[in-house]
């Protein structure tokens, strides 16, 4: 779904990513790669496969948009314990198939403890903020005079209600007047309910569709 924001356009994708056609850039927040591996490193037997399946979803977003660049809005790796050989092998294999795409990581709170991804992955890592008018790329969703912020961190989800006491909780994109929060990309991550303000726009992800929740 195309939305207008800060004078430009973003394509919101059910893959839990947002595409900026003007700069051929794909935004992804909170991948938390290696989270399940961190559990395993602590001998909690969680099955493998989450990182690979998340990467497959990222590939699907790439195939639909052909981006020149991917911007990771923080929390790329989950924790130091999760820096496993196997996770990095999967990442490297995936990276090799998309070597032509530039990747930029704007560090978040987890990255500071977990460390940057291995250099061989060709991910350029910088501290927030990165200003690229009209946007400011950062991890924490706070307003900034430098521009319209694109952020993650929150893992936003929205609760919907309907006739017949129906209820559903869905991951969402949350656009406030000065800052947008992207859904967490990692599938082995929880979410937090947001309370949208009256001027906000919210787009929920319902399986493979984006649904506009705004002013209905």
């Amino acid at each position: 779904m195309r939305v207008e924001v800060a004078g430009t356009e973003l394509e919101l994708m059910a893959e839990r990513a947002a595409y900026w056609p003007e700069r051929a850039t794909l935004f992804v927040a909170d991948t938390h790669w290696g989270k399940a591996a961190a559990f395993r490193a602590n001998l909690i037997p969680v099955p493998g496969g989450t990182t690979e399946s998340d990467l497959a979803r990222l590939t699907s977003a790439i195939l639909r948009t052909s981006p020149r660049r991917i911007v990771l809005l923080g929390d790329a790796l989950h924790s130091r314990d999760g820096r496993s050989e196997k996770t990095f092998q999967s990442l490297a294999a995936w990276r090799a198939r998309h070597a032509e795409i530039e990747i930029l990581l704007v560090r978040g709170n987890h990255d500071r403890k977990a460390g940057d991804p291995p250099e061989g992955l060709g991910i350029h890592c910088v501290d927030a903020p990165v200003i690229e008018a009209p946007f400011v790329f950062q991890h924490h969703p706070s307003e900034t005079p430098a521009g319209y912020a694109l952020a993650g961190h929150i893992h936003p989800a929205v609760r919907l209600r309907g006739r017949g006491l129906q209820r559903a909780t869905l991951p969402c994109f949350h656009f406030a007047p000065g800052v947008a929060t992207l859904p967490a990309f990692g599938s082995f991550c929880g979410s937090a309910l947001i309370q949208p303000g009256p001027a906000d726009r919210v787009y929920a992800i319902a399986d493979d569709e984006i649904v506009n929740i705004w002013r209905r």
Partner: protein, 808 residues
């Protein structure tokens, strides 16, 4: 004969207290002497304790008479709260008869110095809980320390046997019997409908020919009700019953010491507050008691009850068990007791003096509870008694136990398999299941196959299974235990005093400065710091009351049957007894708006409100069966066309609510009520309603997939937190053969839904007549279900289509 000497000593001791041994006590002493094990059942306060305890004492008197012997008697109790009183009761004969035994307890509350001493040498008699016993057995020295054990007494077995804690006890007993085959086991239990099963679970493969001894027959019980003064203004739904406050304080005034039982902790807090507001002059004379309160507060209340200094204690099931409170002369039950056994148990808390009658007064919280009171009196008179059903081979618990045993000196796989198969719970454990558990605890199962460097339990060259990783050991010891502790957060004064604990979800909704009511006090929330909610005394207005997620009690099938009979009589115009006469106007309204359901028919009401289209079904089978039926009905209807249902249920019926009208007639015609295809339809409907996913919460914790963390070390644990729902999804997707997932499904089927009862219910319904009524407005019967907001959901619509009709 040597036994005569001890028999005389005991008889004399009884005589010195003005007692005489009961025949059943003598029977147990004799059986114990002959090396037998068994089960004693009777109401509380009838001498079961000494029936079990004096056998080993007499054996000592007749035997070597060794001073301060090693551990001989182990006393297992389900509740920490019972430990102090048990110790006191057991100590009395030791003291009077000058028997040189050391007697101590071991629980989570035991002081470090005492623990250290016990680690070196255990006392002669030890009172403990199943979890603390597991911890004792998780040490390599355990075998040596337990080698001279002669007797294990398991108190309140009826309370343990239906739960995974009971299974834990079974496993620990199997271990003790393997170390010393001569150990005798005696269980103490309330009377149940299935005493033979109770004995089988307690004694495992040694149950054949076991003694089941009946203690004293219960004393006379009087069951009555406080009747609403104006039935036309009495609510049709609700669970607080606070509109009966005036009558309840009146009843408290009549007695010297009254126990007011409530069914939930929130209700307990609210009633305490209400009584105090109505009678401020009782401040200091009334108290509150429930399981989330700090031990010290509870101890103070229990002491007050024994001393007779309290006029009234508002409590929950926390005061159901053990402990005699002789001064109590009146018991009030707020809301339906939901079962005959519970009603009698609570009634038995009063009238402890010889010759006195136990009296329980029920207070309805809504109109139909009056029918339940009348029905429970009927069921009691007819001698109906509920059964408790044991949990069958829970693999989560077996995985936990295997790690415990690996810590406790290690094990050989075949030996431990043979040992656990001696328990009732695992008697049918298959080789495949056992292999899976071993694989899970050693290599982490399928999940960690690609990570051979990870080993939780290590296997040495000679096949011994051991734990050497200290992190694993530490985490395991902290998470032993099978009660699902919801993320509980301590409530403390800023100055440090602890008040108890509440669920994290409640605290997370509070803003600093906001007031709430807890432990009978109005408190101001200040902040959460290191998993502690800091509070100070609040002045002025009281705020909200915490809610604890506890399982709601379901109507027993015995009581459900009695309720159906009472309703059938009401339909025929027969209203016998004060409760039925009182509820008559509501029955008349039910008959006018809809109909009173008869025994042989299934009443279905269809009504539209602004919330949507409601279908109410009334099988009267109790909440647990209705949970399964609701999912099944919703699933069968939703198969006909895309539709989304929210479901609610109570002990009487089921509601299916949808935004659009459901194709009910078409579904009835195509076998909605049919008992056919249940083997396929039930799992499919439970899946669709995500019931196994919810059940997984407990399993994930017991199997060590989620844990609440180390005390004072919460930060490092944060990065290892995932909700059990998320874990469930990951397992289903990436490790579909995981037996813990299968167990979640099995538990929903067996424990929550009682599959056989579900089948029998459908048999009954499909043979009966369906009476479908379109009604103008919700009937009195539908009301308690209609207002229930905690709902399950089931949909056959595409998610995006549903969402489009919803709003934030």
């Amino acid at each position: 004969m040597a036994s005569n000497r001890s028999r005389k000593t005991i008889n004399d001791w009884f005589a010195s207290r003005g007692w005489k041994p009961f025949p059943f006590q003598k029977q147990v002493w004799e059986a114990y002497r002959k090396g037998e094990s068994g089960l004693i059942h009777a109401a509380t306060g009838t001498g079961k304790t000494y029936a079990a305890w004096l056998g080993p004492l007499m054996e000592w008197m007749d035997g070597d008479g060794e001073a301060y012997p090693d551990l001989r008697v182990l006393w297992i109790t389900p509740l920490r709260a019972l430990v102090a009183d048990t110790e006191k009761a057991l100590r009395a004969p030791l003291k009077d008869l000058g028997i040189p035994w050391r007697m101590e307890s071991r629980t989570g509350d035991t002081r470090q110095s005492v623990r250290a001493r016990q680690e070196k040498r255990l006392p002669t008699a030890l009172v403990t809980t199943p979890e603390s016993l597991a911890l004792l057995l998780a040490r390599p020295e355990a075998r040596q320390q337990f080698r001279r054990l002669q007797m294990v007494i398991v108190d309140e077995w009826h309370e343990l046997m239906g739960s995974k804690r009971g299974v834990l006890a079974e496993l620990l007993l199997a271990r003790l019997r393997r170390w010393n085959p001569l150990v005798r086991t005696w269980g103490l239990s309330a009377t149940l409908g299935n005493m033979q099963t109770a004995a089988a679970t307690l004694l495992g493969n040694r149950a054949e020919g076991a003694r089941v001894v009946r203690g004293l027959v219960p004393k006379t019980v009087r069951i009555d009700s406080l009747l609403p003064e104006q039935m036309d203004r009495f609510p049709w739904a609700g669970h607080l019953g606070i509109n009966m406050l005036h009558q309840v304080t009146g009843a408290i005034e009549e007695g010297a010491t009254t126990l007011v039982f409530t069914n939930t902790r929130s209700q307990c807090e609210i009633w305490y507050q209400a009584i105090l507001e109505a009678r401020p002059d009782w401040a200091g004379l009334i108290a509150i008691h429930h399981g989330s309160l700090e031990r010290k507060l509870r101890d103070w209340v229990e002491d007050g009850l024994r001393a007779g200094t309290l006029r009234c204690v508002v409590c929950t099931s926390s005061l159901d068990l053990g402990v005699d409170f002789s001064p109590v002369d009146r018991v009030i039950q707020i809301g339906s007791p939901k079962g005959v056994a519970r009603l009698l148990q609570r009634a038995g808390r009063s009238g402890h003096r010889p010759g006195e009658t136990s009296r329980i007064t029920c207070v309805p919280t809504h109109a139909f509870e009056l029918v339940e009171v009348a029905a429970s009196r009927d069921a009691w008179k007819a001698g109906a008694m509920e059964s408790r059903f044991p949990v069958e081979r829970p693999l989560d618990l077996l995985a936990q136990h295997a790690v415990t045993m690996a810590l406790g000196g290690g094990f050989q796989a075949d030996d431990l398999l043979a040992e656990v198969r001696t328990t009732y719970a695992y008697r049918d454990l298959s080789g495949i299941e056992w292999q899976w558990v071993l694989d899970f605890v050693t290599r982490g199962g399928e999940a960690l196959r690609a990570y051979p460097e990870f080993q939780r339990v290590e296997v040495t060259a000679d096949g011994a299974h051991q734990v050497t990783n200290r992190q694993i050991a530490r985490r395991h010891l902290l998470s032993i235990g099978t009660i699902v502790a919801d993320a509980a957060i301590d409530v403390r004064y800023v100055t440090g005093g602890r008040l108890g604990s509440v669920e994290e979800s409640f605290i997370s909704r509070l803003r600093p400065g906001e007031h709430f009511f807890f432990a009978g006090k109005s408190l101001e929330f200040i902040r959460v710091h290191n998993m502690v909610a800091q509070v100070r005394k609040a002045h002025g207005e009281a705020g909200s009351v915490p809610r604890w997620d506890g399982a709601r009690m379901a109507l027993s099938s015995e009581l459900a049957e009695a309720v159906r009979t009472r309703l059938d009589q009401a339909r025929a115009g027969v209203f016998e007894g004060p409760e039925m006469r009182s509820v008559r106007p509501v029955m008349d309204t039910q008959a006018k708006i809809s109909a009173i359901p008869g025994r042989e028919e299934l009443l279905i009401e269809r009504v539209e409100t602004k919330e949507g289209h409601h279908l109410f079904f009334y099988p009267f089978e109790g909440r647990l069966v209705h949970e399964g039926l609701a999912a099944l009905f919703a699933w069968r209807i939703a198969r006909l066309r895309p539709i989304t249902f929210t479901m609610a249920m109570n002990d009487y019926g089921i509601e299916l609510l949808s935004a659009d009208r459901a194709p009910l007639e078409a579904s009835l015609a195509s076998g909605l009520l049919s008992p056919a295809n249940l083997a396929e339809d039930i799992p499919a409907s439970l899946n669709a309603a995500e019931m196994a996913r919810r059940q997984f919460r407990e399993i994930a914790r017991i199997a060590g997939l989620t844990f609440t963390g180390y005390p004072g070390q919460n930060k490092s644990v944060k990065q290892l937190q995932a909700s059990s729902g998320l874990l469930f999804d990951v397992f289903v997707k990436y490790d579909s053969g995981n037996l813990l997932i299968e167990q979640a499904h099995r538990e929903v089927l067996e424990r929550n839904l009682e599959r056989s009862r579900l089948g029998q219910t459908l048999d009954r319904l499909s043979r009966g007549v369906v009476r479908l009524l379109d009604i103008e407005r919700p009937s009195p019967l539908s009301f308690p279900i209609l207002v229930d907001r905690s709902r399950h959901r089931l949909s056959s619509e595409k998610l995006a289509d549903r969402i489009r009709r919803m709003s934030a």
